[in-house]
Symmetry: C2
């Protein structure tokens, strides 16, 4: 029997917890409830069988759209999971992607009986090896936040340094000193101050920043992206 090939995506966004809507946003991922065995009724990563006519990344982006009606601000291949016994019936290799979605869009993302957002760190028992896959994706996201510039993908075009710091704090799950954070960001030279400030009648409105788009968001070397 030929080995099956699936594409799944771990989608991250910062979103208010639906059970605590007045609390600050948390790192969240959308999951799909399985309607068929194996694991009927369990939550799982959005995905499905790879399409003959599409690149793997295109399939990942399409499944992401079908599940959430969103387009990703960032999409990267995570890993190909291919353990012999991971699929229960037959052999399936899953090429898994991870994606970041802007918070302002994620707030409006569709939910329904079979699609729901969960706190990334408090997931139920998922179908197949999907808990392990999410654990690895979380590790990659946190690692990458420390040495690259992907926090930006959660935010809009412009943002305050306080907003950028909050993204780091939520993802890394620790409090960061505002003055140290500002120094670090300024010395990294990856963000650029704009001429704009946050509108509204404040006495000293905070300045808006944007990422330096001459620097690539994610460095995949010769693969581009």
């Amino acid at each position: 029997m030929p080995i099956g090939l699936a594409v799944s995506t771990v989608i991250f966004a910062l979103r208010p917890d639906s059970s605590r809507p007045d609390e600050p946003s948390i790192l969240s991922i959308p999951l799909v409830r399985r309607t068929r065995d194996p694991f009927a009724g369990r939550w799982s990563l959005p995905g499905g069988v790879a399409d003959d006519d599409e690149s793997l990344a295109d399939t990942a982006a399409r499944k992401l759209y079908e599940t959430t009606q969103l387009a990703p601000a960032y999409l990267e291949q995570l890993y190909a999971f291919g353990d012999v016994d991971r699929a229960w019936s037959g052999r399936v290799v899953s090429v898994v992607y991870w994606a970041l979605v802007r918070s302002e869009l994620a707030d409006q993302a569709a939910e329904g009986e079979n699609v729901r957002w969960f706190a990334a760190d408090e997931l139920p028992d998922l179908a197949f090896d999907h808990n392990r896959i999410v654990e690895y994706a979380l590790w990659r996201l946190r690692n990458k936040m420390e040495y690259s510039r992907i926090a930006h993908a959660f935010l809009g075009e412009t943002f305050t340094l306080a907003e950028l710091r909050r993204v780091h704090e939520i993802v890394l799950q620790r409090t960061l000193d505002p003055a140290n954070f500002r120094r670090q960001i300024e010395s990294s030279a990856t963000v650029v101050a704009t001429d704009e400030v946050v509108s509204g009648g404040r006495h000293r409105p905070p300045r808006l920043y944007r990422y330096d788009t001459t620097i690539r968001l994610a460095d995949n070397g010769p693969l581009g992206g």
Copy 2:
């Protein structure tokens, strides 16, 4: 038609160039000559169809052994290549691994009419998209040399700091200042001085070092490795 699944491996070793055997070792990879169309006669990465009963990493290690009669000191998944038109006949997704092989073993590796080692930076036109795959593997290797401890996999159990520096110089293709390199390695606390020195009657024989094995060779996070 179901999508085919292949496993290929980019194998790196430091080896004398066969056309210049008296020169210092260079970064080399073994290639296999294709005996069938498409691309009959062209050189390609060792690999083949994924096996139903084996994990992807086991298939990669087995193909590596079948090609070179060697076991890798380091083996890591590189990327799943899945462009629609990359296989010429039908659709094939290749899960590619990269491996490091100890130099002392690579010197004895089999060569034959259809298996030959090439300088990694001077490859001929390879079959399929294999030039692009090697380019990406080279980028990953060089990147990883800068921030992790994989240089060790090219060397034996113990080595001198000069040998370790030579590995970095060959892979990164630049000369490194010996005193700076020593300071950097010593402050990184990843190598440990042994009580041994290089044998032979020298006045001040260089000390042998080993890697601190309490630190993991490659950090794949929750995937282990």
